[in-house]
């Protein structure tokens, strides 16, 4: 099957070049950093200017999914920013009164997401987004594990962090209960059969990602180790010659004169 030209130029090629742009943008050289930032801007423009209807391909639907999540994600990020920087920290604090507003934005983000799950699945002209269940199942599954890990982490490593641990546990258990509910009862737009199938598929995908990605990282570390091993120990530096010693003494004398 031939790939449509617009999919190559507006989806796959920008995705392929993303690591190159990111790598150059974090480079130490100024010129390379500027090229990297320019490349990242071009990548963004190429994806934004996607020429066809989003419901015409799987790639388009994935972009539609990201667009529909902009609202809850923005609320979440601003909520974290407001609540974090209006707390008792010395780094550029915002007014203390903004902290409750930050938490309110986080709750708004959660409520928005729940509303989308139960009442308003993303659609284009009545056609549901086919990736929605995959995203929700992945999100809830990873949230259970990451929030659970966070709860255990602060309890084990922290100093009297019971309150924080309880809140993270509530998020983990809440995500688990939400997943169970969807698997058992479904939502207003989707039968539980589809949620169960999606959840099983997600477990396969996440396990595969962990295995394949982990294997690639281990291989990369091995390549770096080979490279380091091949370089060998640096050669011994020869002692200073008589002329060099004299020059060093001269410099020391010039700089230390009158200090003692």
């Amino acid at each position: 099957m031939l790939v449509e030209e617009y999919l190559l130029t507006h989806y796959w090629l920008p995705l392929f070049l993303l690591p190159l742009g990111f790598g150059m943008a974090i480079s130490n050289e100024r010129t390379r950093r500027l090229i990297g930032v320019g490349l990242l801007i071009l990548i963004s423009l190429a994806i934004i200017s996607y020429p066809e209807r989003l419901d015409s391909t799987n790639e388009g639907w994935s972009l539609h999914l990201i667009l529909t999540m902009i609202g809850p994600i923005t609320a979440l990020l601003f909520g974290i920013w407001f609540a974090l920087f209006s707390g008792p920290i010395p780094v550029a604090p915002l007014p203390r009164g903004m902290r409750p507003f930050g938490f309110a934005l986080m709750i708004l983000s959660l409520a928005w997401l729940c509303w989308m799950i139960f009442e308003s699945r993303p659609t284009i002209e009545g056609t549901s987004n086919p990736w929605w269940q995959h995203l929700v199942s992945s999100l809830l599954t990873s949230m259970i594990i990451i929030a659970g890990f966070g709860a255990a982490f602060v309890l084990v490593m922290g100093d009297e962090r019971n309150k924080e641990s309880v809140i993270m546990s509530i998020i983990s258990i809440g995500s688990f209960l939400l997943l169970i509910y969807l698997l058992a009862e479904g939502s207003s737009t989707d039968d539980p059969v589809f949620w169960r199938s999606s959840s099983w598929g997600v477990l396969g995908d996440l396990g595969g990602m962990l295995f394949g990605g982990g294997l690639a990282v281990v291989l990369f570390v091995t390549f770096v180790w080979f490279g380091e091993k091949r370089m060998g120990a640096p050669e011994e530096v020869e002692p200073l010659t008589k002329d060099e010693s004299e020059r060093v003494k001269e410099i020391l004398k010039e700089n230390l004169e009158g200090v003692a």
Binding site: M1, L20, G36, L84, S138, I144, G208
Partner: protein, 167 residues
């Protein structure tokens, strides 16, 4: 006070917590599957496709990042060549996999269609993982830094005399 070996015990505890949560999720899925009405999602095929595609993506990304950060003093030939060849090997292996008939249903059985859908699935899952990571650790950081502590008595000292005003 923490003793030597405590760190190992702590990380073992945390690993067990994660493992327990993964087992819990599997049990929930199996229990609800027993109630019936589940489509055949070919979990092993999805696992193998996802593993090979992730391997290709991670190696490809590491190859491009290596190229982007390389300079004349860096000796990166092993990692550049290694990641590139590993990505190519992954692509060839995926092609063989599809040609031998191990395909995910619901998608055209040619190599590109299977690869494209698998990649989109992985990208969406990665997006979900990043989102849950930002949400969980963002909230955790907010809570952890929100604890009020008594003011530092040093702040009340004069910078010249170093004496407390009350004394």
């Amino acid at each position: 006070m923490k003793r030597e070996g405590d760190a190992m015990r702590d990380w073992r505890t945390l690993s067990l917590v994660v493992l327990a949560l993964v087992v819990l999720i599997f049990i929930a899925n199996i229990h609800l599957e027993v109630r019936g009405e589940v489509e055949d999602v070919e979990i092993l095929t999805r696992f193998s496709h996802s593993a090979i595609i992730s391997f290709i993506i991670v190696n490809g990304a590491l190859f491009l990042i290596t190229l982007a950060i390389s300079h004349k003093h860096a000796k990166l030939i092993e990692q550049a060549l290694g990641t590139f060849l590993a990505a190519i090997a992954g692509v060839l292996f995926f092609g063989l996999f599809i040609d031998s008939g191990i395909t995910v249903s619901g998608v055209a059985s040619d190599v590109w269609s299977q690869f494209a859908v698998g990649t989109i699935r992985i990208l969406i899952s990665s997006f979900a993982i990043i989102l849950s990571f930002v949400a969980s650790f963002g909230l955790l950081l907010t809570l952890v830094t929100g604890r009020e502590t008594p003011p530092d008595p040093l702040l009340e000292l004069e910078s010249v005399s170093f004496d407390n005003e009350e004394e």
